[in-house]
Subunit: 327 residues, 2 copies
Amino acid sequence: MRDVAEKAGVSVMAVSLALRSDGDAGRLAPETRERVRAVAAELGYVQNARARALRLGRTNVIGLYAGHGYTNVRLPFFTEVVSGLQEGCEQVRRDLLLHGVFHATSEGDIVRELADGRIDGLVVSVPFSSTLLMTLRDSGFPVVSLVDPQPGVPSVTVDDANGASQIADHLHELGHRKAVYVSSPDARIASAEKRLASFCARAQSLGIATDIARPVDEDHRHGVVRQALANGATALACWNDVSAYGILSQCETAGVRVPDDLSVTGFDGVPLPYGLRSDLTTIEAPWAEAARLAVLRLDAMLNGEEVPALTTLPVRLAPGVTTKQVS
Amino acid sequence: MRDVAEKAGVSVMAVSLALRSDGDAGRLAPETRERVRAVAAELGYVQNARARALRLGRTNVIGLYAGHGYTNVRLPFFTEVVSGLQEGCEQVRRDLLLHGVFHATSEGDIVRELADGRIDGLVVSVPFSSTLLMTLRDSGFPVVSLVDPQPGVPSVTVDDANGASQIADHLHELGHRKAVYVSSPDARIASAEKRLASFCARAQSLGIATDIARPVDEDHRHGVVRQALANGATALACWNDVSAYGILSQCETAGVRVPDDLSVTGFDGVPLPYGLRSDLTTIEAPWAEAARLAVLRLDAMLNGEEVPALTTLPVRLAPGVTTKQVS
DNA sequence: CTGAAAGCGCTAACAG
DNA sequence: CTGTTAGCGCTTTCAG
């Protein structure tokens, strides 16, 4: 920068001003400005992001925290989330940092890493209230919660209750009168419990008898399928697609035909790659859009704007071939 | 930091030393060190990454460049690549930056952004020689190329030639004597051309007559399928899985049965989500592993070590149900 | 409209 | 073994 200043016959200050993209445009004579820019281009000068970050107190980078360990983009759900974050980042001209270091370290270390200034703010996706998130929030670090609303943290989520109730409606229309709701083994997951409660409430009012299962592994899922059939259930409503595909896989090994012997539904509705059609009847939730909005919220916070405490996006039923009319 | 120093009754310097994780451990009395650490913990002090980055001249962050626009993690190929990069980053304790800003800007701006110090090095995945990459390389910026080897840049790739030749062998064993190779419409993609050349060479020596197609869109792919059947071809070998799934989709709309009427093969073999089995006969290429190695190479470069110019990973045939014996 | 000085928070040198 | 000095590259006062 000093080189540029010397060669252009101005002060370092002037160079700094001349290269400012939009801010204080009027402070420098257009002529000087252009001359400085020309010299800078000639010398191949690029502003140093590190120095800038230190001086300005921000990096224009936001991070993603999705629990200990790095985010598994192989899970379709996170593929969508990361895609949405990228879209949002492009929109607000920021970069996205995928943290790679907080595996197998203490929670204190993780907070330290997240709040050490390498990012300006964080999108958090943890399924239940975490002390880590609360620590971050209490320290005044800008955080937005995705998926599961967290107290005191602006959140973006989808309408779990409505989705679950749409599933109940769908099954009712198809004539199902006995179902099993396959929920998460971990009862702390807020969104899962919301779906469960909403499904059961709706099912009850529609006259669908509902059992609840919380399978923890493949064997257990196998048992759930057998038990359901033994009890005369005609449908299995799963709390998310991952769980639904697990059930489908067990049905296949057990020789249970879907949807002839049993109807199966999921929740999330993330598109498959390669344009492959998903056959699963599910609730399509706009996770990418939710993630994009989370970035916009975070950006607004960083700009000192007020942001809504909660944004809930609508979901819709996507009928597949895993549900059918009860004969 | 000054607060910590005062409270512990030492100089700022001592604090800096005490908090160093591994480096100069012996320079400070263990006792002082512990005292300082205790005070730091008490005050909730965290080192400022921005200041550190400026002073040390590095950020411990590496970036990914996969062409203009942000990397589409929805493409299974990039899902694998990003996963591999994450694994590598964890291993070398660095973060991964997904750039969000270089969409719709000039190439100069992109180079400026990539080389402005926000990242220490870059993993590049571009299918053919790009001036951007050469500019970066010539400026001495640490770069590793993934997928397509680039002159003067350490590269990690998979054995395209061997994979293509395995496909030819497979088709030959199944009795195919006439095939169409479905390549990329863009003849500049080095890996695609390598696969094409290797397939054709092997096919010829095995006595398989091979036509070449370079379909640009769905209509065109439709034509390729019809033409292939009209010409008596019994197999379509596609240069990658995306292209193969496109062909399969056209076969379906055209009422062409796979593999009864036509065998179809792909290349990449990326696993599908949800444990779904892919039915496509393809070449499994370890892209995640390649990406992980790319990070290790980059890290080695940044540590001033010598790195091999080219690393080629082996691939293997994964037979599916889209190929069968010619009757 | 432009320049000079001060400092963001940290660490590498050198003294003590 | 510890403290002092200087400076990474930039921008924000405050004078000119």
